[in-house]
Amino acid sequence: MPSERAAPKIINMKALYFAWVRERIGKAEEEIAPPETIKTVGELMGWLHGQGDNYAAAFAHTKSMRAALDRCHVKHDALIGEAREIAFFPPMTGG
């Protein structure tokens, strides 16, 4: 009997970048497919850091970087879970 193997789970999500994060990476948004081992926002930052020189420049100093999951502010230790959209940006300067 042929054994059915489950297709590897592909987690596609939309990543958005704003202000100098956007400028350093060179794009405003993209689809990303991080490996399943990436569970938290902070781990995703580390993974993105390794995706090229532009990403390394954008994610060089992540301590003050802010993130949002599905348009809600989150801390770096937040679990990505089923979120479809993740955004990275510097501290906000509106008002």
Partner: protein, 148 residues
């Protein structure tokens, strides 16, 4: 609550909030303007996160309404290019007495500055494109004082 590119009329917005009302005793209007930094700055470019910007402004306004007995709230934030002298942000709060309107307006501004996803980039009069404005520690401290 609005996020828009166009200039707004602060006094017209405030007037509309109290139109036909006889129960409002206090209206506080705060407008944040683009300043030219002694002639050095030619424009600001404000980037925002569409969708989240509106959601955060609504969230902050609801928080203000839950903290103080308000009769009306307006919050408008612009994005795109803004010239010196033009308004950037508007907060209007209305209440029976002044203390609540003052406190809520101050709270709204402190929270909008640190929680709403907007970023300012400076363009200078000498044609150079300047840096992104850095978040100020005192703005964060101002927002933090409302907690706890």
């Amino acid at each position: 609550m609005r996020v828009q590119k166009e200039v707004f009329d602060a006094s017209a917005e405030a007037a509309a909030l109290t139109q036909g009302r006889r129960d409002i005793g206090a209206v506080v209007t705060f407008a944040g303007l683009c300043r030219d930094e002694g002639g050095a700055l030619s424009a600001l470019e404000i980037e925002h996160y569409p969708g989240m910007a509106e959601a955060e402004i609504n969230r902050v306004a609801q928080e203000a309404a839950s903290r103080w007995p308000l009769e009306g709230i307006i919050a408008i934030h612009r994005y795109g290019p803004i010239k010196p002298g033009e308004p950037i942000v508007l907060v209007v709060t209305a209440s029976t007495h002044r203390a609540e309107a003052f406190a809520a307006a101050s709270f709204l501004m402190d929270y909008l500055k640190t929680e709403a996803p907007f970023w300012k980039k400076q363009h200078f009069a000498d044609q150079t494109s300047g840096d992104w404005v850095e978040a100020k520690a005192q703005d964060l401290a101002a927002a933090t004082k409302w907690r706890g």
